[in-house]
Symmetry: D2
């Protein structure tokens, strides 16, 4: 029998992407969906691309919890904590695509999001769902904090070097460039076609909320508190994030060692592709898929590692990774339903 | 046992798209691929998006024919006739994505392509593979002329009205707009990013080679010789064709009748979606999929039918339809491997 | 002394474009600007590209009328009539970029816009400002109805043939494709970057408000009532309109005759460039300028004229033409301030 | 009498942009143009946007030198040295948009470009034409090395802080993102529309030829040898470069001091706009113009300055700056012909 999957916030971009992938997942089926803005409407009225593929109506949050084995929530921050408790009480698995359970430190959560932890026990039982780095923690869990988009790409680009102590954890710079879907479905002046098209700019320079989340992951890997400089930019494309990460190579470490470490680290990871020398990670090559491509570069003149990752912000950076987490907690092969071939163009 | 599929011309855009779809086809596998320009190279070196998914090397045409049950050829016109004979002799099915077998009239082929029919018997045994219109002819055949891109979208938009005699077959105008992949992989000044981006223009006005092919299909449906005006334009997007088709409604015919005819005509066609009143066919909603969306509009002031179709030129307009034809001739459910959800964005 | 120009609705796209062009106009200066939404704000806060070039504050409509010799109004329809009366009373010239004075027939205005003529005398004194077709009517006038975007490109493409009676005025089809700025500055779901990008669709098929305006112009030229089929589409580019116009060539008329007629007709028109045989009008070549490029094509098989025009919807289709009209009514060389070189890329 | 300007390499993108700007320059006129690939062709045949504005034919290099007071050369590196000598001998001013005279160190030139200095005296008399930083050196000179695109944007973003010693010159990182025109007019697979569109990637990571040129400028400003890490990326837009520059703030320096220094430094520079707090430099706001917008950001957590500049790579990064240099050496107001309003969209 198939896993019954429910989606809360199905009409947002992450929700819609969950639908896209779940529709062809061989071991799961969409049991129910909800949306506050479009309750009573068919999903295919909101997204005509889904016509005749998902004409399901948007119901209420309670209906979704009731009908599903696993609930995916794609909600603005602050709204997931009570929902998690509700799912937990009902014995359902809960995968949160929002930010409520990502930060382990309540103080950081308060500082960056202005909210409190409602139930500390729930937070303790939640696990951060970045499988390539924390797989063993995820297995057997029921509350998963699915990482944000920037917070998947940048840590995957840096993890092997940071964990093995090959680079300095001081002065790390993450310069990211994201496609527009990262900003969500709500129209705004900044995402209005004529004002974004043929434009490019940074935003929330050095104060984006994903900063402490990236630092939390890098700190865990390195064993010491890591502080980074993080600058996101808005790319005039629909999908994809490039994170160009700069770290000083430690004395005595050869670049070839770093490359070997990456290849070993990701040897068994289907979704991470370490590119050969000379290649450059490109969002073009991972669009619509759950892959994370990583290219490694050596600035010999300053002995700096430049590690660049490319992910699809809506797949490996949101819906795909959420389903990867579902596969893990339900004991399926992690790739199930996720072998999506990135189109060649 | 899976169908062994071979691709000749695998490194062109249509070839690459065949690979994308075949890689997840449950009843077929890629047995061999060839490319003149990249012989000896891995496909994933040409298209890095396929890394670790299709690292197969490009071999020769003969190897492909030998190892495959069905051969897909994505070649410039003129090169398929001998290959078809070779496949035929070897008892293999042959699906031609090129133009050599599309036109039934040798005179038209000579006039528009400047070539001759090498073997008339072969041409007689070939069938035009537009399943929604000619399915019964395709079943049991071994040589399939897969239609071109414009020649799929425009006829599907007009077929029900033309076949039922609801519109005049005189004065039909097809104004099409195609994404850039239709022009192939070879760089040219016209497809150079800075000169195409933020641009838009018509090309080959009233003398594009797909004209006689569209006319051939419409003539078959109507039972009389149809001559159209066809103007293609180049859209600054990667994929998709919109065909805006204009036909005068015959006296005494109500627009509602036409809509009913379309709904009846395509009732059992999974890949054709007739949109409800008020909707507009949009390439956004069919990208990467095998769907053809059709919207119907009535210009009451001139009593004209405006029928608009949207297809992905590389899928329903090339590789997807070719695999749909493979499914038919191998007796599979036509949808096998082709239930690709068009992304919502 | 320079002409004092005022702009009402300066923060909309047409208003902003008036500013861009007027800032380098040698014989005019911006005396005042207004905006309901941004009153009290600097224009350069709304459009940072104008920083240090136009830091003028948005004032009220009354201030603009008071300080200016000529008032440009870029307002939603229905709001210009009273303003025109106010300007008229104050002895100021009034150039309306909205629709209120474009249609001469009150019945059509009522039918398409749902409004009435408030002052018939004012409407009689207003003139339709398409200089290449009606220049002599414009000279000496004080109330100018500046044509809409589609209603500039399509008539210019058809005018010489229609006026000289070389084509049939029955069955004319205008298939237009417009850049996104035509829909204005207000964000909407349809113009949200991720949903428009890589998309393309028709809209308001056969019921766009510019239809009667195009017909009015063609009817004047031909001397009989012309009814057309008009279908606009939305292009994923910022600027530009291509209008592909189809008209049956009258018996006995040779295509070469038509070409000669166009060349003669536009011989002295600086802003209209009739392209040589083989060229295709492209929005790429007229962006940011006041040019209208026209390419002529003959469908020999159906004896149809395909006349294609390219204009920048915000320049020749709005602000540029408005300034061209200002030049005319103030007795300046029509090109003054409008020799903008369209960038090569 | 107007300055007679000649352009060698007029059909490349930088050449075409020189034409665009010179056509409306009030004190200069285009005397002659040349092109190896298009000799004998009209410029407007290569760039139809220039039809009726510049129908001049491409002649030879010698003709250009003969007919002009100032020669702009937009040539691949290695070809300018002899030309400079030829112009010098003929008593003409020479402005080189190529790389031959940019590096003062022959060793660096050899290392990065593989060429030698042919005439050391000529190199000594050449001056690096970045007016905002080296204006006084340029006045009175006849051989100008016009900076490259990255090498304009990054130094302008860092200059005030580096010159005043407010930031460390060690560990400076420049992460740049350039529009596609930077790669020139020649079609290639990498710039083929379908493969670049919706893509984004770094290239020449830490080994781009502009690296030593940026370092040369920063070293001059700081008085000590500066080594940087420079990573360029390719943006899917036509024009514009964002350079995101990271530098550690020196102990005891407050961020407000840095901002004041920038405002003072660029107070009288028309072409540099230091944006207010909270704004982000955006290529959208400087397109087609000679402006350089700079936004300043403080990463308080790591005490890092993030200085971001936006320029149009073809204007301030090439043709516009070249004309600014021409204005200087001919004693004109530096802004002459360069007050181009960047369009609001």
């Amino acid at each position: 029998m198939k896993i019954k999957a429910g989606i809360i916030g199905a009409t947002g971009y992450a929700g819609a992407e969950l639908v896209r992938i779940l529709l062809t997942h061989p071991e799961a089926e969409i049991a129910a969906i909800s949306s506050v803005s479009f309750e009573g409407k068919k999903l295919s009225e909101v997204y005509p691309s889904y016509k005749e593929l998902c004409d399901m109506e948007c119901g209420t949050q309670d209906e979704v919890v009731e009908k599903s084995d696993v609930i995916f929530a794609a909600l603005p921050h602050g709204l997931s904590q009570e929902l998690a408790a509700q799912c937990d009480k009902a014995g359902k698995a809960f995968i949160d695509l929002g930010a409520d359970f990502r930060l382990e430190s309540e103080e950081e959560y308060r500082q960056w999001y202005g909210c409190e932890f409602l139930d500390h026990d729930l937070h303790k039982r939640a696990v951060y769902g970045l499988p390539e780095l924390f797989r063993e923690n995820i297995q057997g869990k029921r509350i998963i904090a699915n990482p944000g988009c920037y917070t998947t790409g940048a840590p995957l680009a840096l993890a092997p070097a940071v964990k093995a102590g090959l680079v300095s954890t001081e002065g790390i710079i993450v310069d990211s460039k994201s496609g527009v879907t990262g900003a969500g479905r709500k129209p705004s002046q900044g995402n209005h076609y004529p004002e974004l098209n043929e434009g490019f700019h940074a935003y929330k320079v050095a104060n984006h909320r994903h900063t402490p989340e990236i630092e939390q992951t890098l700190s865990k890997l390195s064993g010491k508190k890591v502080t980074i400089t993080f600058v996101p930019h808005l790319l005039p494309v629909n999908r994809g994030i490039i994170s160009t990460c700069y770290a000083r190579i430690n004395d005595g470490v050869r670049f070839e060692q770093i490359r070997e470490e990456y290849e070993k680290f990701y040897k068994n990871e289907f979704f991470v592709r370490v590119l050969p020398d000379g290649a450059n990670a490109d969002i073009h090559n991972i669009k619509y898929s759950n892959f994370c491509d990583i290219s490694l570069h050596h600035d010999k003149r300053t002995n700096t590692l430049v590690a660049i990752s490319a992910i699809d912000n809506m797949v490996k950076g949101a819906a795909g990774q959420a389903i990867q987490n579902m596969n893990i907690i339900f004991g399926l092969d992690e790739k199930t339903g996720l072998v999506i071939v990135p189109p060649a163009f």
